[in-house]
């Protein structure tokens, strides 16, 4: 059997190379996020946001932008026969799951490299919260990548893929959203970041990540079968 590390690197490298070459997901995700911030900026008619409203605007925008990437995560495998090629190879299917989670994680981090500075320019008075905010988003991204990969692999064979992904993913992302906004809220408080219950929410995010990574590890093999 091919070592999992080699299979992981091959699949992740293939996905990132194809995305860099075609730019099918990332520009759409970033443009969606920036446009949504513009809509919030004028819809709310506010030049500054703080606390739960700021946390909600940031997280909801990132979550909906992420769905665009989740929708396309397995499209090449479906349309170009990659599923068969992967299933023919003597590899541990967990490596496929891990590589897809990693690819989606890279997309989400790249999205945030664009979206978070734009959010800060539009709505924040200071950049003091950005460092701890990056930690919260990284943990939330891992959970979203694990859940998104699972849902995307299930939905890709359906013609209603674009509908199924948000319909199934969003309810599963509710606990993640509660924890992410719970952790973001004190960071974006008026007067600079506070750390009230910050550790608790980080622990919830870690738990969510762990649960969905383990679920993916346990069931992904079956999702690839006919």
């Amino acid at each position: 059997m091919t070592p999992s590390r080699s299979a992981f690197a091959a699949i992740l490298g293939k996905d990132l190379t194809a995305e860099l070459r075609t730019l099918q997901s990332l520009p759409a995700m970033a443009l969606f996020a920036v446009t949504t911030f513009v809509i919030f900026r004028f819809g709310l008619d506010r030049t500054a946001l703080s606390g739960s409203l700021a946390a909600g605007v940031l997280w909801a925008t990132l979550l909906f932008a992420a769905i665009l990437g989740v929708n396309r995560l397995f499209v090449a495998e479906r349309e170009e026969g990659g599923f068969d090629a992967i299933r023919l190879a003597p590899i541990d299917r967990t490596a496929v799951f891990a590589a897809k989670v990693a690819a989606l994680l890279v997309y989400l981090l790249a999205l945030e490299l664009v979206a978070v500075p734009v959010f800060a320019i539009f709505f924040l008075d200071s950049a003091a919260a950005l460092l701890p905010l990056a930690l919260v988003l990284a943990l939330a991204d891992l959970g979203l990548a694990a859940t998104g990969t699972l849902i995307s692999s299930m939905a890709v064979n359906s013609r209603a893929r674009d509908l199924l992904v948000p319909l199934v993913l969003l309810p599963l992302a509710v606990p993640l959203s509660i924890a992410a906004t719970g952790a973001l809220e004190p960071l974006l408080a008026v007067g600079g970041p506070a750390y009230e219950r910050f550790g608790t929410w980080l622990a919830v995010l870690c738990l969510y990540d762990l649960v969905f990574l383990l679920v993916g590890y346990a069931v992904f093999d079956f999702l690839l079968e006919d």
């Binding site: 070592p3 293939k14 194809a18 170009e80 023919l88 190879a89 079968e225």
Partner: protein, 219 residues
């Protein structure tokens, strides 16, 4: 000696519709099986079951002694499939696709590069090897797909219309890669029996609905 393929009463249904209805055949290493039959007779279904990509509904299927689908993991990597889909990513070049498949099959570094170079030369595709697959003609894609199929030197080749989209030169070059060879078994689906009957040791003829019309040694 373990047979390359052993099928006993193999069945596959899609819902209520039978695709294969009781196929019995065995094939030794070094032999070729030619599978004939009209459209809808289950030829592709048979290949997909042998490739471990589809579960049988009933009967017994063994590849190199491993029972399918339970022990499929034991024989993946010993099978090469050249089917209707090229199994190539359109946005990667031909060489990048072959590198990707080489890594999936545990080939890396100089050994992989040498093998890829050798195969590209064998199908006269060195000059277009760095073009994206989307930019290649259907015949060129089929040549690259043949390279992918034999890249890891499989012991069992499953060939579904391997001549599709190929011109005379392409047929000859691809035939050199996927033709009969000692030490490997082949299952070949073709709508052109006269072209392939000469290289077949056994012939399996399927009827509509997967009924076995004939299973015999080649004439």
């Amino acid at each position: 000696m373990t047979a390359a393929i052993e099928l006993r009463g193999l069945r596959r249904e899609y819902g209520e519709r039978p695709a294969l209805a009781g196929v019995d055949v065995s094939l030794a290493l070094g032999e070729s099986l030619l599978v004939l039959g009209p459209n809808g007779s289950g030829k592709t279904t048979l290949l997909r079951i042998l490739a471990t990509l589809l579960r049988p509904s009933g009967g017994e299927a063994r590849v190199f002694g491993a029972s399918l689908p339970g022990d499929a993991w034991k024989v993946r990597g010993r099978i090469g499939l050249l089917g209707h889909d090229a199994l190539l990513y359109r946005d990667l070049s031909a060489r990048e696709n072959l590198r990707f498949h080489a890594r999936l099959h545990g080939l890396r570094g100089e050994a992989a590069e040498a093998r890829i170079g050798e195969l590209l030369a064998a199908v006269a595709m060195e000059r277009r090897a760095d073009d994206r697959v989307a930019e290649l003609s259907a015949g060129m894609r089929q040549r690259i797909a043949a390279c992918r199929c034999v890249l890891h030197e499989p012991d069992l080749l499953l060939l579904d219309e391997p001549d599709s989209n190929l011109d005379a030169e392409g047929r000859e070059l691809v035939g050199g890669l996927v033709g009969p060879a000692a030490g490997r078994a082949r299952v070949l689906v073709s709508h052109d029996p006269e072209r392939h009957r000469g290289e077949a040791d056994r012939v399996l003829e399927l009827g509509v609905g997967g009924a076995v019309a004939e299973a015999a040694g080649a004439a």
